[in-house]
């Protein structure tokens, strides 16, 4: 692009360097964790002692890790389904209806992520303990649904805002009752956003620590287990779990991004 008179090479290069540094800053610690997970040494120090899968074997052999993973997966999958369903309902309500107090409704629906997690965790613990629902895997699920539904709502709401408002009425006009139109028009239109919401909410639940720590009791999720390990001893096993959790979350988030960016069949209707 050197022939482009509206660009200047020094500026371009410094912007590129800036971008590179930002990524390095964000990903260096994670990369370090990844590298040390394959290091034979007990303590993370340079130079590296040598390649080894020891820590991976140890993690795979640890029943506590498997139990944590199972809890995390059960919670993650259930949370993503419930939060996406709730988020869809909330987003559709916003799209379809106008009613008194709608802005209050929207503010409330989008509130949970703005509450500090420690406060939310404590409140959840107090509340769930009061109604006899604390200390079990479903406690984690309930708490995470509250945290994740707003994300699902935001994603699906964005998609619905791209929809030609006459699309649904057109379906009714062509013989589809409201439920049928929901199934044949609204949901297909929102499909990419629905899947993106499923992945994002699963990733949020997968990573979430503070609230899980408060409410999970004996049914600890993987991040809570990791803290348990750290309190006992600093083991390179943490690096292994960290690498695994990072890769899983990144995969989910990237899948969601791909779905949200894909246009093609998605583009605005009726333009």
């Amino acid at each position: 692009m050197s022939d482009d008179i509206n660009r200047s090479a020094p500026v371009e290069w410094s912007l590129r360097a800036y971008l590179l540094l930002t990524f390095a800053f964000v990903f260096a610690p994670i990369a370090a964790s990844f590298v040390f997970s394959f290091n034979v040494d007990r303590f993370p120090s340079l130079p590296l002692g040598g390649f080894s899968l020891t820590w991976y074997q140890q993690v795979a052999a640890d029943p506590l890790v498997w139990e944590g993973l199972r809890n995390t997966l059960v919670a993650g999958i259930t949370v993503s389904v419930l939060a996406t369903a709730l988020g869809f309902g909330a987003a559709y309500t916003d799209f379809r209806y106008n009613f008194f107090g709608k802005s209050l409704y929207l503010a409330l629906a989008l509130l949970p992520p703005t509450i500090p997690v420690v406060i939310l965790g404590l409140a959840m613990l107090a509340f769930l303990a009061n109604i006899g629902l604390s200390g079990a895997i479903h406690s984690v699920i309930i708490a995470h649904v509250v945290m994740c539904a707003p994300f699902a709502m935001a994603i699906i709401r964005l998609r619905l805002s791209q929809m030609d408002p006459s699309l649904e009425a057109a379906a009714w006009n062509l013989g589809a009752s409201q439920w049928v139109a929901m199934r044949h028009v609204i949901i297909p239109f929102c499909r990419p956003a629905i899947f993106a919401a499923l992945f994002i909410t699963m990733a949020v639940s997968f990573d979430e620590f503070a609230v899980s720590w408060f409410v999970s009791g004996l049914n600890e999720t993987l991040p809570v287990k990791v803290l348990g390990f750290l309190q006992g001893q600093v083991s390179p096993k943490i690096n292994v779990i960290g690498t695994f959790v990072f890769l899983t979350s990144m995969t989910l988030v990237i899948l969601a991004q791909i779905l949200l960016m894909k246009r093609g069949t998605g583009g605005k209707a009726g333009q």
Binding site: S166, W172, N173, L174, G175, H184, G266, G267, A269, G270
Partner: protein, 364 residues
């Protein structure tokens, strides 16, 4: 036209809170006619169409389709398909799936669905795009898909809400021909909402002109054009010169009306017969009946006007003028004639017309 109306709006009105979108109106739509509802935005034309489609519920009166009250029938239980201004094609479906949609919703089996959709794809000449996504079609092709999708159930009536507004001028004219032919061949009723006079007047058998929620006039295009019933219609059509004044002489078939720009003779017509000296009266003269000349012509009606501007309209041009009484006036002329007159803004020119060119508006 049969005597049995297909649709009757029996004192049907619609209000949103305090706002009256449509005042209680009576309108009959005949079987097999092409009816255009025309008006500027906010006049209630789209609301009227949506009430017929079942997308808005009238707040008063009764809508009857083929003699049956349909007020409480949801839109999915009526067979009143609509072609939308945005077309509202389903972007996640192929052309064929779009066309099959209403058959599928009505529980028609797969094979029959395919067959019936095929017929409409062929008829609208979109078979070659059948398996394409609708997002990849041109404006005209999308238009045809929208028509096929609405007509596939072979309804008795088709509602169209400004379907051509997004097309360029050339395509618009071509689609007008497609629509006219289609309506004639199918023999079904078209109710066509538009703000475009040329669309309404070139396609419709009858035109309804609406303003502020009220029907101003219903009639054949020629009839409305030649004898607008109200000042609003005359001004809305835009090609008329409107003069308001007081009757000074009313002698049988001709009357004399004194306006700020002079006294003019007008044939009484149906509306003028009741006028007596002293009554207020309004009459219109169509812009193509106006003569322009440098000197005062002999006889007839004439006034001296000031040229404001010339507007180029294809084969002719419209000269905008101001009358001595401040009226906005216009004259449609050929380019040759204008070249002979050599007018420029600010010039004085004589405007004249034969007494037979005037048309007295009823009332007001």
């Amino acid at each position: 036209m049969t005597s049995d109306p297909l649709v009757v709006f029996d004192r049907v009105g619609k209000r949103f809170g305090d706002f009256i979108a449509v005042e209680p109106m009576h309108l009959e739509i005949h079987k097999g006619e092409f009816l255009a509802i025309m008006g500027s935005s906010g006049c209630g034309k789209t609301t009227t169409l949506r009430m017929l489609a079942g997308l808005e519920a009238p707040t008063e009166g009764e809508i009857r389709l083929a003699g049956k009250r349909i007020n409480d029938l949801p839109t999915w239980s009526r067979d009143t398909p609509m072609v939308w201004q945005s077309l509202a094609l389903f972007p996640f479906l192929t052309v064929r799936e779009n066309v099959e949609f209403s058959l599928k919703m009505r529980g028609v089996g797969k094979d029959e669905r395919r067959q019936r959709a095929e017929k409409w794809l062929e008829r609208m000449q979109i078979t070659e795009f059948a398996d394409r996504n609708v997002a990849h079609l041109s404006g005209g092709q999308r238009q045809r898909v929208a028509l096929a999708r609405s007509l596939v159930t072979e309804p008795e009536i088709l509602l169209l809400d400004e379907p051509l507004s997004a097309l360029d001028a050339h395509l618009k004219v071509r689609m007008q021909a497609v629509l006219s032919n289609l309506q004639r061949e199918l023999g079904i009723t078209f109710v066509y909402v538009t703000h475009s006079q040329s669309e309404a007047f070139s396609m419709a058998d009858r035109v309804v002109i609406m303003s502020r929620g009220r029907i101003e006039q219903v009639g054949a295009p020629q009839e409305i054009y030649r004898s607008p019933r109200t000042r609003f219609v005359a001004e809305f059509l835009g090609s008329s010169n409107v003069f308001a004044g007081r009757v000074t002489e009313a002698a049988g078939r001709g009357i004399l009306i004194e306006t700020p720009s002079g006294a003019f003779a007008v044939p009484a017509g149906a509306a003028g017969l009741a006028l007596r000296p002293g009554n207020e009266a309004t009459f219109v003269v169509s812009d193509d009946r106006m003569q322009l000349s440098g000197a005062r012509p002999e006889g007839g009606n004439a006034l001296e006007a000031t040229v404001l501007a010339e507007e180029f309209i294809g084969a002719t041009a419209v000269v905008h003028l101001e009358g001595p009484g401040g009226e906005e006036l216009r004259a449609q002329k050929s380019h040759d004639e204008l070249a002979r007159l050599t007018l420029s803004p600010g010039d004085k020119v004589w405007m004249s017309w034969g007494p037979e060119a005037g048309h007295v508006l009823p009332g007001r």
